[in-house]
C-alpha cells in the first residue's frame, strides 16, 4: 500500500517538477506556534513536511537547528507533542518525522510506528541509523507500510548506495555535502554528482537536503532531484523575527518563492 508521500512523488513526476519539503522541529518556537508555522509552509507551497523530533545530542545538525531543538526541549517537547504535530499537519500534506535513533528505540519501534500510522504520518527519516543496524526497523516498517528514509552522503560508496537505496522507501535523502545542516552561500556541486550516482542504482525518488536555503539554490536542485528539503532557512527567519506573526509571514513568503522554483521548465 502506498503512503501519501509515495503518492506525492508519483504526482510531481507526472507534473515534471520537484517536490518542496519543509522542515521544522516539533515544539519550535512553541507547540502551538510550530503547527502555525508548518501550516504556513504548506499554504505557501510546501508539498510535504518533515517534523523534527528534538534530541539532546543532534550530531548531524548545525547551530541553527541545534538552537531550535534546544528551545523546544526546554519546553518539554516529547513523543506526545511530536505526534500531535504530525496529526495536525498530515491532514494538510504528506508528513514524515525526522529523528535520531534513540528516541525511537526508547519509545519502542513498534509503538512508534503504530503512533505514526494512527496520526497519519507517512514514515521517518533516520539520519544516524545505518543499514547494518536497521533489521528490526525494516521488518516493522514493512508490516505497517511506513516509509523508511535513509540518508546517503557524497562519501557513500557505490556498493553501499545500492544497499541503502534498496532499503529505502518514500525517497532517498541525499546529503548535498560532507557536513551538518545549515544555510550555505551555494549548494555543493557534489549534490548533483551524488544524485546522478543514486539514479544509476535506483529509480526511487531522491530528495536533496543540507545547505539549500534560497529560491535560486532550490531551483537549481529541482532541475535534477525529485525533492528539495529546506529547514535551517525557515528556522533562521523565525529566530530573527520580533514576533511569531512576523516569523510566520516571512516563512510563508519564503515557501511561496521556493515553490515557484520547483518547475523544471
Amino acid at each position: 500500500m502506498s503512503t501519501p508521500l509515495d503518492d506525492l512523488f508519483v504526482k510531481t513526476r507526472k507534473e515534471n517538477r520537484a517536490a518542496l519539503i519543509g522542515f521544522l522541529p516539533a515544539g519550535f518556537p512553541t507547540q502551538s506556534g510550530s503547527i502555525s508555522v508548518l501550516t504556513a509552509m504548506v499554504h505557501g507551497g510546501c508539498d510535504a513536511i518533515e517534523i523534527g523530533f528534538p534530541y539532546s545530542d543532534p550530531v548531524m545538525d548545525g547551530p541553527i537547528i541545534q538552537a531550535a531543538s534546544d528551545q523546544s526541549l526546554k519546553q518539554g517537547t516529547g513523543a506526545k507533542e511530536v505526534f500531535a504535530t504530525v496529526r495536525a499537519i498530515a491532514a494538510l500534506a504528506p508528513t514524515v518525522v525526522m529523528t535520531y535513533w534513540n528516541p525511537i528505540e526508547r519509545y519502542g519501534v513498534k509503538k512508534f510506528l503504530d503512533s505514526m500510522k494512527e496520526n497519519g504520518g507517512s514514515g521517518a527519516v533516520t539520519p544516524d541509523l545505518t543499514i547494518e543496524e536497521s533489521s528490526q526497523w525494516i521488518e516493522e516498517t514493512k508490516k505497517l507500510d511506513s516509509n523508511r528514509i535513509f540518508v546517503v552522503a557524497p562519501s557513500t560508496s557505490d556498493e553501499r548506495l545500492k544497499k541503502v537505496a534498496e532499503a529505502s522507501t518514500g525517497f532517498i535523502y541525499a546529503a548535498s555535502l560532507m557536513g551538518v545542516t545549515g544555510t550555505r552561500a551555494s549548494v555543493s556541486t557534489g549534490a548533483q554528482t551524488l544524485v546522478d550516482r543514486i539514479r544509476r542504482v535506483t529509480d526511487k525518488p531522491v530528495a536533496v537536503g543540507l545547505g539549500v536555503s534560497t529560491p535560486e539554490q532550490a531551483h537549481e536542485v529541482a532541475r535534477y532531484a525529485d525533492g528539495v528539503i529546506v529547514g535551517s532557512a525557515f528556522i533562521r527567519l523565525l529566530q530573527e523575527s520580533k514576533s511569531e506573526e512576523e516569523g510566520i509571514n516571512k516563512v510563508k513568503d519564503l515557501a511561496i518563492a521556493l515553490a515557484q522554483g520547483m518547475k523544471r521548465s
Binding site: Y55, S56, D57, P58, V59, M60, G62, P63, Q66, D70, L73, G78, A79, Y100, W101, N102, P103, I104, E105, R106, Y107, P127, D128, L129, T130, E132, E133, S135, Q136, F150, V151, V152, A153, P154, S155, T156, S157, R160, V164, A175, M178, G179, V180
Partner: protein, 399 residues
C-alpha cells in the same frame, strides 16, 4: 536488539556496540577499521608502538604493593598497577600513541579530540606534538573554566582548544562538536576518540591499545604472588582503563572483574554518573550501550566530583560483560572516593586521580568482603596532581 553476538565485523558485543552514525562517516570508519586490523597483524607497527612505549611512555609500568593501605582493605594483598607513572600521568597515553600512529598510516595530517577534565586532551596534544600533527581539542566551556590549567597545558603543546558552548557545555557536548567537525573534515582528519565508546571500531580499537595494561599486570602478578588475583578492579567512566586491565583476564573465570562507577551523591539522588548501575540500554554517540536518559530518550546530565567519570554513557563491551555476568559494576559515592583518595595519599605517599580513587574505594569494600587471603589487582589509572584544587576545596585546605 537482536544483533548476533559474534558479528565482530560490525563491532557488536551481544546487543551492544555497532554503528549509529551519519552515513557520511561510514567510509572513514571502514578505513579506520581496516587500518587497525592491518596494524594489529603488522610486526613493523607493533614494534614502532612498543619502542615508543619503552622510550617515551615509560612502559612497562610497575606494580606497587600497598601494604599500609591494605590494613584498611580487610588485610587483603593490594597490588597497584602504576599507570599514573606513564608520561602525561595516566593510562590515556597508551591509546593516543596507537591512534596517532594509525593517523599517520592513513595519511591524515590533523587530529581532533574531545576532553572532559583535560587528561585525554593533553595526551592527544602530546601525541600530536610528537608526531607533527595538527591538533584541535573540543572541550565544554564549563570544563575549560574548571580545568584552566589543562587548557594551558594543551596550548603549550601546540594544540588549539575550542570551548563548546552548546547544550550542557560539558564532555558529551564536546563529543557532539567533535563529531560535527569530523563529518565536515573527514577526508583530512582523524577523530582521536579517548574512550572505549563511540561507533565501531573505536570500542574494539581503543581496548586493544589499552590491553597492554592487563597483559603486563597479569604477568607481574604471577611473578610476584605466584597466582592470579582474586579480583581485578578499575574505575569506569567510558571504561577505557577498566577494559584495558580486564580484557586479558576475561578467560580466567575465577578472577572477578569489578568496575567502579561514579555514584556522585548517591544513585537515589539522581546526581550520579553510574551508567550501568543507574542507566538503561540506549544509543548515544554512535553506539548502543547503557545510557543515562529520560523517558523520551533524551540524554540526562551526569554528576560526579571526578570530571573524568562525568559521562552519561559507557563502553558497549562493559554493558555486555555486565549483562552476561562476567563483570560486576558498583557505584562509589563522591565521599567514599574522596576518603580513599586521602587514605592512599597518607598511607602510601601516592596521590591518585579522583577517578582512580573510586577503584581504591571499591578495593576497600571488596578487601573487607574477601579477607586477608585475597589478592586484589587495582588499576591505578592516573595521578592526582590535576585534582589538587578540587581536593583542596573538598577537604577545606586553603590555597
Amino acid at each position: 536488539m537482536s544483533a548476533p553476538v559474534d558479528s565482530q565485523i560490525l563491532g557488536h558485543f551481544g546487543p551492544y556496540g555497532g554503528r549509529f552514525v551519519p552515513e557520511a562517516l561510514i567510509a572513514a570508519l571502514d578505513e579506520l577499521t581496516l587500518a587497525h586490523e592491518t596494524a594489529l597483524n603488522d610486526p613493523a607497527f607493533q614494534k614502532e608502538l612498543a619502542d615508543l612505549h619503552r622510550t617515551y611512555t615509560g612502559r612497562p609500568s610497575i606494580i606497587t604493593e600497598a601494604k599500609r593501605f591494605a590494613e584498611h582493605a580487610g588485610g587483603a594483598r593490594i597490588l597497584l598497577k602504576r599507570e599514573d607513572l606513564n608520561h602525561t600521568g595516566s593510562h590515556k597515553i597508551n591509546n593516543v600513541l596507537g591512534q596517532a600512529l594509525l593517523t599517520k598510516r592513513m595519511g591524515k595530517k590533523r587530529i581532533i579530540a574531545e576532553t572532559g577534565a583535560g587528561q585525554h586532551g593533553v595526551a592527544a596534544a602530546t601525541a600530536a606534538a610528537l608526531m607533527g600533527l595538527e591538533c584541535v581539542v573540543y572541550m565544554g566551556e564549563e570544563d575549560t573554566k574548571r580545568q584552566s590549567l589543562n587548557v594551558a597545558r594543551m596550548k603549550l603543546l601546540g594544540a588549539e582548544v575550542v570551548p563548546v558552548t552548546q547544550g550542557s557545555k560539558t564532555l558529551k557536548d564536546a563529543i557532539n562538536e567533535a563529531m560535527r567537525d569530523w563529518v565536515t573534515n573527514v577526508e583530512t582528519t582523524h577523530y582521536l576518540l579517548g574512550t572505549v565508546a563511540g561507533p565501531h571500531p573505536f570500542p574494539t580499537m581503543v581496548r586493544d591499545f589499552h590491553r597492554i595494561i592487563g597483559v603486563e599486570a597479569r604477568e607481574q602478578c604471577l611473578d610476584l604472588v605466584g597466582r592470579l588475583p582474586d579480583a581485578v578492579l578499575a574505575c569506569v567512566g567510558g571504561g577505557s582503563n577498566a577494559i584495558g586491565i580486564f580484557h586479558p583476564f576475561i578467560e580466567d573465570k575465577n578472577v572477578r572483574l569489578i568496575g567502579l562507577e561514579a555514584g556522585g551523591r548517591g544513585i537515589e539522588s539522581g546526581l550520579h554518573a553510574a551508567t550501568i548501575t543507574g542507566g538503561t540500554p540506549g544509543v548515544l554517540h554512535g553506539t548502543r550501550s547503557y545510557v543515562l536518559q529520560d523517558e523520551n530518550g533524551q540524554t540526562l546530565e551526569s554528576h560526579s566530583i571526578s570530571a573524568g567519570l562525568d559521562y552519561p554513557g559507557v563502553g558497549p563491551e562493559h554493558a555486555y560483560l555486565h549483562d552476561i555476568g562476567r563483570a560486576e559494576y558498583r557505584a562509589i559515592t563522591d565521599d567514599e572516593a574522596m576518603y580513599a583518595f586521602s587514605l592512599l595519599s597518607k598511607t602510601e605517599g601516592i596521590i591518585p586521580a579522583i577517578e582512580t580513587a573510586h577503584a581504591l574505594a571499591g578495593a576497600m569494600q571488596v578487601g573487607n568482603e574477601l579477607g586477608s587471603d585475597a589478592v586484589l589487582l587495582i588499576n591505578l589509572s592516573g595521578r592526582g596532581d590535576k585534582d589538587v584544587q578540587t581536593a583542596a576545596a573538598y577537604f577545606g585546605i586553603p590555597l
